[in-house]
Structures are given as structure tokens and as C-alpha cells.
Amino acid sequence: MTGKKGKWKNVDFWLYVMVLPAFILVLIYNYIPLFGWAIAFQRYNPALGMFGSPFVGLDNFRMLFANPMFVQVIYNTVYIATAKIILMFFTPLIIAILLNEILRDWYKRTLQTAIYLPHFISWVILGGMFINILHPGDGIVNQILGWFNIGPIFFLGDASVFPHVIIWTDVWRSFGMGTIIYMAAISSIDPGLYEAASLDGAKRFRRMWHITIPGLVPIMVLQAILALGNVLNAGFDQILNMYSAAVYSTGDILDTFIFRRGLVGGQFAMATAAGIFRSGVSLVLISTSYFFAYKFAKYRIF
């Protein structure tokens, strides 16, 4: 290390070597694709490639937004994602507070084991499962509804029902996982507060209201702010495994639209344009949410 000067004097260059492999892979697979955005401004022809295809300016974007289907897709995306955000904010919060009131420890752990499980199963498997149990002919759900003379309901084939199925099955899959963060926050509340409150004669509801909930406010604020970044994440994995042509009108979202038109349909230019629109809006949303999270909750990524 001798002979080097100033700020480089004590720098170990092996540290740069350590980051290098990850750096190169991110460069190739996350940054170089950004150049692919050029396709969105071309009449892209795979045979001619990115450098040979003719430039058409904003034509692809104009075509996209002139397509009523695409406007519907944006609406579907925001509708499903917003409903999920709201439900996934309140459900885990309420369940965590209720779980905390289960005083038999073994029973609490049993409940937790059950509600975390669906999160670990992929949407391929869960999609297969819901197709099976929600089947209008012989699915168990419609069988049970039949006892009460309801239905059969075409849960996955009726466009007016489909978004609700998507929203609730996703909440079903993730609410358990969502409680973890609140449970961790509750367990970091000073037990002395509860003790003092008990000695002062505070009953359970008052303890919940005056200690548990205020203790959760910082993490609630953070979760609410970070959720803002998800307004365009309606759940690609889930919908691609549960939708069908019958429910495109209400169930097709930006990601499935891009996948279907682009990779399946071969309309690379238009799908890339839709992707740029999605990335642009997400960038603004996520940056804003990180900014507020940093400002109000001192949240830092690194």
C-alpha cells in the first residue's frame, strides 16, 4: 500500500473485486435492457434487429393510448392493486393485534403456523387449486353454496366476479405473512408499559387502545407510505395463472397485457412501449414513497 496518496492510501482494492461479479451481472441484465427501450420507437422487426428497424417516433405510444383496451387495462390494474393495498394494510394489522390477545402461547403459535402457510406455495399450485375448488360444475365451493340454493357462481369465468376473486384470494395468501412485521413491532413494545397500565387498573381494551396501537403507529406509517409504490402491481403471477379470455375485460392488467401482446403475440414494439409507461409511472411512485418514508420514518435502504 505504500506509495499511494491521499484518499486511496488505505483502500483495499480487493473490496472492489468482491463487488465486481454482482456489478457485471446487474449491468448486463438490468441496465443493458434499458437500451432495448429504443424498440418502442421503432417498427421493430426481429429479423432486422434493433439497429435495422425503422424509426417511427411516438407512433407505438399513440397506438397504445388510442386502444380502448389499453385504457381498460390501466383501470383494471389500478383498481385491483388499490383494493389489494387497502385490504393488505388493514387486515394484517387487525389480525396481528387480535393474535397478540391470544394468551395461550401454543394456540397462538398454531394459528400462526396455519396462516403463514399459503404464502410459501406458488401461484401455479394455488391457481390450480382455486380452479379446482371454484369450478362451477363440481368445485367444492359451489357445492356448498348449492346447499343454500346459491349459484353456481362462475368465480373465474364471470368478468364481474373475477376481480373480487383475485383480490380476496391474494389477501388470503398474504395476510398471515403481513402480520409478521406487526407482531415483531408489538414484541418490541416495552412490557413495563402493559404492567404499569394493569396496575393502574386498565382493562384489556384500554391496553390495546392506549399501548398496542400507539406502539404500532410508526410501522403503520411506514407500511402505508411504502405501499404507494405498488399501485401498478396488481399481481402478475396470480392473474396469469387464474385468468382466461372470458375475463380480460376486468382482469387483464398491464403485466399480463405486456406478456400476452409482446412475448405471445410478437408485438414487441407496442409491448415495450407499454413497459416504458409502466416503468415510468412506477419510478415516480416508488421514488415518491421512498422519499416520504425517509422523511417521515427515517427509513433507509442502505
Partner: protein, 299 residues
């Protein structure tokens, strides 16, 4: 604290709340389990029982027929093998990259000039992505399509995992490292012999994150692998469960298939996809939750 709680008599309101609370949470917990139990029962029931809707939570006319049939597809067994290969390659590569990148980034800007810029270089990828089509074209251009590397390399660098790990690395007292430096240890040795052993719990959580991620991933398996014979299990099962294509069945299989209800067959495949996760679930629960809490509460 428990003693105090016991001493205080429960008011009727509290009793009512407790009854409500136990009931509600029990119903929710059951809602998470019953669908799996029903599918499990279906997978072990006879085709006629399934067709007549007689299967609830217990197998009717118990039979392994659906499982036997599922495994007559050599494709399924092959796809399980591909998933195992994928995990065996993907997890060590991904973990190696994450550990190697998180260590330097946990240093100060003085020890590693440019650290902040490099960190942003990684973090920005969590905020803005190029999108599906350009990503697909680059993976194709790098010649990975239809090789197992397409499932391993392009998504190998888990930026979120890097941020979790570097925050944990930072909590390690610097004294350890300084005394090792005095003795002339290299940065690699410090990482391997001091940092890694001290962060075993976090690393275990990250290994599980990555393993489950690879095991459950199906989308890259679908878009990068054109042949069913190259697809990992989840992608392969998707082909059967979500969009079945009967033209792919051999004539013998087709005749067999006609003899029974496809629902029991589907149920068996759902269970084949679920059981491996159930087997590791105790570990998952323990470490995953630790990791989740870490990722969410830091800062």
C-alpha cells in the same frame, strides 16, 4: 406480567371479546388449511367419488391411482430433477454474489471510495426495471435461452437480499476486523472467518428465501425454455394444471385418462407441488420470519 393478568377478573365484555377473538382467528386459520386438506382428500379418492361430489375433507374410496398416473408421465419426474438442479446451482451462485457484494457495501465511504454510488447502482434496479421485452431480448442475446443458466444467471443478484445483509454486516463491531487486519488477514479471510460465521441466522434466512424462490419460480422456466423437457417442475405443472394440452399425452395415457376424473389427477399434481414445501415448512417458518422481521424493521 402473566401473574398480573391472571389476578384481574375478566369482565363480561372481556369474556365476550375473548370468545369472539378465538372463534374469528380459528376460522381464519382453518380457511388457510381446509383448501389444502380438501385437495389432499380429493387426490386420494376414486374418480367416481370425486365426480359425484362426495369428497369433503377425507378421502372416499381410498386409492393411489391419481399419484400413480401422475408419475407415469416421465416428464414430471424429469421436471422435478430440473428443479433440483436449478436449486443446486442457483442458490450457491446467488448467495455467493450477494455475500461478496454486501460486504464491501457495508463499509464506509472512506474505506471504499464510491461506495454510495455503487450502492445506488444496485438499489435503482429495485425502483426501475427495463420491462419484460427488453429483458427477454438480452437474455436471448447472451445465449442463455434453453439452457439451465437462463434460470440461474439473469436473476442471480438479489438486490433486496444485499440490502438486508449489508445492514446486518454493519452491526458487527469493527474491533474484530481491526485486530484481524493487524495480524495481516486479507479482506476475503475477514469476510469468510469473521462476518459470515457471525451472521449465520441471517444467512440461513436468505438461503431459505432464495431456495423457495427458485423452487417456486415458474415464469422464467416458461419464457426461456421452449421444450417441456427442459422446464422446471412449477412450469411443467402449470402446463398440466392451468392450461392442459391433451395432445401431449401418449395414446396409452389418454385412454387411462378417460377412465377417471381429471380432477383427482389435478389434485394429485397440486399435492406433488405442495408436499416438498410442507416438508421444509418448520425450518421455513423459523428462519423466514426472522428474515422478514429483519427486512421490515431495519432503519
Amino acid at each position: 406480567m402473566k401473574n398480573i393478568k391472571r389476578k384481574i377478573k375478566k369482565s363480561p365484555g372481556e369474556k365476550a371479546f375473548e370468545a369472539f377473538n378465538y372463534t374469528l382467528l380459528t376460522i381464519l386459520a382453518l380457511s388457510c388449511l381446509l383448501p389444502f386438506i380438501h385437495i389432499f382428500a380429493l387426490s386420494l379418492s376414486s374418480a367416481t367419488a370425486a365426480m359425484q361430489g362426495r369428497v369433503g375433507l377425507w378421502p372416499v374410496d381410498f386409492t393411489f391411482f391419481a399419484y400413480n398416473f401422475a408419475f407415469t408421465e416421465t416428464g414430471l419426474i424429469n421436471s422435478i430433477w430440473i428443479s433440483i438442479q436449478r436449486v443446486a446451482l442457483g442458490v450457491p451462485i446467488s448467495m455467493g454474489l450477494v455475500i461478496l457484494a454486501a460486504f464491501p457495501l457495508s463499509k464506509t465511504d472512506k474505506e471504499l471510495p464510491g461506495r454510495t454510488i455503487i450502492s445506488w447502482f444496485f438499489v435503482i434496479t429495485m425502483v426501475v426495471g427495463a420491462g419484460l421485452i427488453p429483458f427477454f431480448l438480452v437474455v436471448s442475446a447472451t445465449g442463455l435461452r434453453n439452457t439451465i443458466w437462463a434460470l440461474v444467471i439473469p436473476s442471480a443478484v438479489g438486490v433486496f437480499n444485499i440490502t438486508i445483509l449489508l445492514n446486518v454486516f454493519r452491526q458487527i463491531p469493527r474491533d474484530y476486523e481491526e485486530s484481524a487486519l493487524v495480524e495481516g488477514a486479507s479482506q476475503f479471510r475477514i469476510l469468510w472467518q469473521i462476518y459470515v460465521p457471525l451472521c449465520k441466522a441471517t444467512l440461513a434466512a436468505l438461503v431459505l428465501f432464495t431456495t423457495v424462490g427458485h423452487w417456486n419460480e415458474w415464469f422464467h422456466g416458461m419464457i426461456f425454455m421452449d421444450m417441456r423437457a427442459d422446464q422446471p417442475m412449477q412450469t411443467y405443472l402449470r402446463g398440466n394444471l392451468i392450461m392442459p394440452d391433451f395432445t401431449l399425452l401418449s395414446p396409452e395415457q389418454f385412454i387411462l385418462m378417460m377412465q377417471f376424473n381429471t380432477r383427482t389427477f389435478g389434485a394429485a399434481q397440486i399435492m406433488i407441488g405442495t408436499i416438498p414445501i410442507l416438508l421444509v415448512y418448520p425450518f421455513l417458518q423459523r428462519y423466514f420470519i426472522k428474515g422478514m422481521a429483519l427486512g421490515g424493521l431495519k432503519g
